[in-house]
């Protein structure tokens, strides 16, 4: 039995800010109703910024708090910043959309904040219990906002589908956790890591597979990807932007921490699982996207593929591999948020356009938007000198250094397949006959799109800040 002392609370300051802040915002909303929606949105952004500052000022040393359930290290801080950026931008993108769609409710930013709180807890998880409650908090809030457009059958279907499959994956995760707990006698990661050295029995691997399955569901890696296209398509677009960005960061952080940080003793045994999942994700992400007609579905398959590439770095299991995952996910975050800002800008009268062929001739009607779109798709395709290329480069060079030649060759070949459909969109934008013009972009969309395009375009000029912090973050895990 221990008592929680005040210094221990210092290490959970970002989480406390979000937790208490979201409760306050909830009260403001409850008292003032939906008139307060604008205020709550702004305050939510302020809270996320404050939490990011609180994360940034935490020292680089490793702190374990709250009875070993919670860990703050360089690795956690890197991912937390990414998750907070993803959530913040999603809130920025959401407001105009919801006002136009008549869905402007104060609950949205509150739920995003609570989901972000869950993400931070996942990232800082140091025990199976924290892992589970964090994951559940994160997911439950997202199930709700996926169904936020409750009068639209597609949105409610998306929410329900995500909820049911998510509950199933939680069940698998819990089953695996209980096996691991039963075989190691502890829920704390350091104790589990100490107990798991060398060859493990079948039952333990059984438990590990279930844990990986539960986590792979959250990053929508094949074969746990079925929900992704439907949920991405059905959910309101800002929610899709949120779904594609921030939760992926938290779940990927958790996978890396669990596999590399907790089970380093049995790399050979989980490596083959990750190699399979990576290849399958890259393949589905590349081939299934070709026939898509909806941009949001295309982005769903694109994110499945990108998770596959990130897992290639994890499969290496080395420090270099973890660095490459960090860099890849940061670049993925910037590109995805920019792309969704672009998708939100495709508005024709009161209708948000979702067909790929509607992009035809965008270069003539909206040259700036077309240019930014093209930048982002070049980056997603992994064409140098855009940032996406460097992400893939780091990932594959980590895999090659770890001796995973077959995986790297398959990955490079599949990224060529993927490049086909990204470039097809660029072709449609620039060379097809123009359709009806779109409305002018709003300033916030311009800002998000511009910043992310500049980031992916000019990453090669100044890669040092990102690469340097990824190196430092990966070091804290080993």
């Amino acid at each position: 039995m221990t008592s929680v002392t005040l210094p221990a609370l210092g290490s959970v300051l970002p989480e406390l800010l979000l937790a208490v802040g979201s409760l306050v915002l909830l009260l403001i909303g409850a008292v003032r109703g939906n008139r307060a929606s604008g205020t709550v949105n702004v305050l939510a952004l302020v809270l996320i910024a404050l939490a990011a500052v609180a994360v940034a000022v935490q020292g680089p040393e490793k702190v374990v708090a709250l009875n070993d359930a919670f860990i703050v290290d360089g690795f956690a801080r890197f991912w937390k910043i990414l998750a907070l950026v993803g959530s913040g931008v999603a809130i920025v993108l959401s407001r105009e959309f919801f006002v136009r769609e008549g869905l402007d409710k104060f609950e949205f930013p509150v739920l995003v904040l609570l989901s972000t709180l869950g993400m931070l807890l996942m990232i800082s998880a140091n025990s199976l219990l924290t892992l589970y409650v964090g994951l559940e908090l994160q997911s439950l809030a997202i199930y709700v906002i996926a169904a936020f457009d409750r009068d639209n059958p597609r949105s409610t279907e998306a929410g329900l589908k995500y909820f049911l499959l998510g509950a199933l994956s939680s069940g698998m995760l819990l089953y695996g956790s209980s096996l691991v707990y039963g075989l190691t006698g502890s829920v704390n990661f350091p104790a589990i890591a100490a107990a798991v050295q060398g060859e493990q029995g079948v039952l333990f691997i059984f438990g590990l597979v279930f844990i990986i399955a539960g986590l792979a569901f959250k990053i929508s890696a094949v074969p746990f990807h079925m929900w992704t296209p439907d949920v991405y398509e059905g959910a309101p677009t800002p929610v899709t932007a949120f779904l594609a960005a921030a939760p992926k960061m938290a779940a990927m952080a958790l996978i890396v921490r669990v596999l590399v940080g907790v089970f380093p003793g049995i790399v050979e045994q989980w490596q083959q699982i990750i190699v399979f999942v990576a290849i399958a994700s890259m393949a589905i992400g590349s081939f299934a996207a070709i026939g898509q007609r909806s941009i949001k579905r295309l982005m769903a398959y694109s994110s499945i593929g990108h998770m596959g590439y990130a897992l290639v770095g994890l499969a290496a299991g080395t420090e270099q591999g973890v660095q490459s995952v960090l860099i890849y996910m940061a670049i993925y975050l910037a590109t995805t948020l920019g792309t969704f800002a672009g998708i939100l800008a495709l508005r024709n009268g009161n209708v948000y356009v979702d067909r790929i062929e509607d992009l035809a001739g965008l270069s003539r009607t909206q040259p700036a938007l077309a240019f930014f779109f093209a930048m982002l798709f070049f980056s997603l395709a992994g064409i140098p000198p855009w940032a996406g290329f460097f992400g893939k480069f780091y990932v594959f060079s980590a895999a090659i250094d770890a001796g995973l030649y077959a995986l790297s060759i398959i990955g490079v070949l599949l990224s060529v397949v993927g490049a086909f459909y990204y470039l097809r969109i660029v072709k449609i934008i620039y060379f097809d006959e123009a359709k009806a013009p779109y409305e002018a972009m709003t300033p916030t969309l311009k800002l998000v799109l511009g910043v992310s395009s500049v980031v992916v375009l000019l990453f090669w000029v100044l890669p040092a800040p990102l690469v340097g912090s990824a190196v430092a973050a990966a070091k804290s895990l080993f």
Binding site: M1, V4, L114, L140, G185, A195, G201
Partner: protein, 206 residues
């Protein structure tokens, strides 16, 4: 010996009634079989000395959740016969998946080798946290729930809060033209605002 007999009794009835939950035709009997399953699971908990969990299972799952199920099942107007119409045509696929899983499980259990030493160290590791002898289940949980596991406990509270917000966001509808009691407005009424005096001339008709 007696404990073993009770174990097989509880476990056997538990599995049989769990099967009846999905096999039953009438949803009401399904829920009743679910309650029977919970009771038998509670019996199993008592056999291993976890009386607090056993009582919680009865109080929470039987007393609250299953009864709520029963209300929902009896109140909503769903034609379960129609829902089940296509049930049998999925049976072969379901059975196939089930058999594959069964074979996999048999393979796993067949090759199952858990080093007794592993289980021993696991038990030893868990035993360091075990409460002193003579401490009841309830007391033991109370000793750690708000101290060692305060963090997980609080976070679980947030999960429930999100569930509540979600239920409200997704289902609450403000209907227009619904008359509500507004106490402040009632209290603020004065004689002047609520009574209108008309001077009706007599014999003039209305």
């Amino acid at each position: 010996m007696v404990a073993a007999a009770f174990f097989y009794l509880f476990a056997g009835v538990c599995i049989a009634s769990a099967f009846m939950v999905i096999a039953g035709r009438n949803p009401v009997t399904s829920v009743l079989f679910l309650i029977l399953t919970f009771f038998n699971a509670a019996g199993l908990f008592i056999l291993i000395g976890a009386e607090f969990l056993a009582m919680m299972l009865v109080v929470v799952y039987v007393g609250a959740v299953a009864v709520l199920f029963l209300f929902v099942v009896m109140m909503i107007d769903v034609d379960f016969a129609e829902l089940r119409a296509g049930f049998l045509q999925y049976l072969p696929v379901g059975a196939l998946v089930g058999i594959v899983f069964l074979i996999e499980l048999v393979l796993v259990v067949g090759t199952l080798f858990v080093d007794p030493a592993v289980l021993h160290t696991a038990a030893a590791a868990a035993a360091t946290d075990a409460p002193r002898a003579g401490v009841t289940n309830t007391e033991a949980i109370g000793l750690v729930l708000y101290t060692d596991y305060l963090f997980a406990f609080q976070t679980a509270g947030f999960v429930l809060l999100v569930a509540m917000i979600g239920a409200i966001v997704l289902t609450l509808r403000h209907k227009p033209n619904v008359k509500r009691q507004d106490i402040a407005a009632q209290v603020a009424r004065s004689h002047e605002t609520s009574v209108e005096l008309k001077n009706v001339p007599s014999r003039a008709g209305v």
